[in-house]
Subunit: 97 residues, 2 copies
Amino acid sequence: MAEDVFKALADPTRRRILDELAERNGQTLFEICARLATKHGLGLSRQAISQHLAVLESAGLVRSRRQGRYKFHDLDTAPLEHIVTRWLSTDTPESTP
Amino acid sequence: MAEDVFKALADPTRRRILDELAERNGQTLFEICARLATKHGLGLSRQAISQHLAVLESAGLVRSRRQGRYKFHDLDTAPLEHIVTRWLSTDTPESTP
DNA sequence: ACCATAGGCAAGTGGAGACTTGCCTGACAA
DNA sequence: TTGTCAGGCAAGTCTCCACTTGCCTATGGT
């Protein structure tokens, strides 16, 4: 649902998570926590990231695969492609001089 | 700022307003109110729409031009184009087995 | 068996934002 | 000028959501 995608993208922390997954796919929750803390200085609790990942997953932007006691997260950019075209396909008829 | 664009797109009512402006550019506040009420059944106050338009305008998605006692609103899709490419251009380098 | 690790499940708190209500300003017509 | 119409400026209310805290489950190592 495109509805959830917009809501998922609304939060800056979630966009950062997408950035991280775009840079390195298949990270675990703890890896994402560590990289957000070190690279972006975000001192968030593990639960916060976990909840963000749940939102991203229910929006279809992140896929998760369980393997033993690890859970790897993969980015899925498919829902992003047909979101903005809703207004762009209405074209821009030479409105910028 | 891309930050504001995501926040602006987060609200369903604001996306509806963009839909309306995409369908017919240069509407006034009252026109948008009327069309949202009749076409989408949204019984929102005039102030609500006005505040939404302010958010959209500060995000650069809507331009407004004053003319007498009317204020016309025009859609600007420029900020939408370079938003999603942030993750799409990072591509997916055959990482899915 | 034990203990440490990776993650999940709540319930609770605080703040941002969507929406309203009321009053005020400016522009056009009679 | 007076009345009306389009819009703005505040307040104030209330709901949702991001984040925390605490405890619980399960997997793997030794």
